[in-house]
Symmetry: C2
């Protein structure tokens, strides 16, 4: 169950057996079936969540009821609604499993204790957050500068594992285009070859 996480954390930061044990002790595991929801908008997100296996997505409904995929998460990624978590207010986003998945969860207080007591974990998480910000900056640049086609290719190249796990209409929603447009982009590619 948590072997994947153990391996991940050992490779990600220098952490003692003892600290690793406290981290595991404070966690709970959860299995999600396909389409199971982990967060409904309106609820407050109070967890830190590591994905051991499977695939999840973070998405949001607009005023017309259309959903927009803000982020995907697969094994060894973390997922959550930072805004709701940090500000302790109702989430605007939803999280659902796109496939049978298993996650590891910590409560906010438990996690804060861990961060306080395990500097290596805090350092690691700070670096992780920094990288997440860099990634979102890159995504913004891509959205304002590149064509739908370029964004599609970039996504496929950068996140091949994700690409292979999620339905195309969600890729479209992640790229900010309609499924039909994505379909036509793909068509042009097969034709061009």
């Amino acid at each position: 169950m948590s072997e994947a996480f153990e391996k991940y954390l050992r490779e990600s930061c220098k952490i003692s057996d003892e600290d690793l044990q406290s981290i595991l002790d404070a966690s709970t595991s959860k299995n999600l079936r396909k389409w199971q929801s982990l967060l409904h908008d309106g609820e407050t997100w109070k967890s830190i969540c590591f994905i051991s296996s499977g695939c999840l997505r973070l998405y949001r409904f607009d005023d017309d009821g259309n959903d927009h995929t803000v982020r995907f998460g697969i094994e060894n990624w973390w997922i959550g609604d930072q805004e709701s978590y940090n500000q302790e207010k109702p989430a605007k986003y939803n999280i659902e499993a796109l496939a049978q998945s298993s996650v590891i969860l910590w409560t906010k207080t438990a996690w804060e204790d861990l961060l306080k007591n395990i500097p290596a974990l805090k350092d690691f998480f700070d670096r992780l957050s920094a990288r997440a910000f860099e990634t979102s900056q890159q995504r913004i640049y891509s959205l304002i500068s590149a064509s739908a086609e370029q964004r599609y290719l970039e996504f496929q190249k950068t996140y091949p594992k994700v690409f292979n796990k999620v339905p195309l209409h969600m890729v479209a929603s992640y790229l900010g285009i309609s499924r039909e447009t994505l379909s036509r982009i793909r068509k042009d590619f097969t034709k061009a070859k």
Copy 2:
């Protein structure tokens, strides 16, 4: 010169006079004339930069030589290229002053020392980074879900101070649309009233 920063920091976090003094001692001030560059792509960004006054932008050139505004910064904001800073590699981005501006700078090593020695500063900066991430998440959602017109209105409403300081063609580039399209969006508004 640094009064603005002093006021800002006192209001942002609980910090002792002594700590504030060390922060100021480690800093250097710099005045920028209009259009002066603070970072050229290819260089490595090695500073933490606080904007005391004026207006700057972070932008990037695409392969066709068009520039895209990734972010603006005005007084009491921080600006920099996180990716270049964290990974200590050549920047893909540029930073320039859009008006006569003054900034306060810290070297990376000086800043890291400060963070290590002043927990209140570290906490504050962590919160700031968290908020920056939330903001970029919001921007991504806006880019994938909203029309150009909606994004324009949202920008104007959310950052009125920035809106009033920057030329429209840069707003367009920030929104991911051409200046002509922005011009037509604005035209429709004056007509509708």
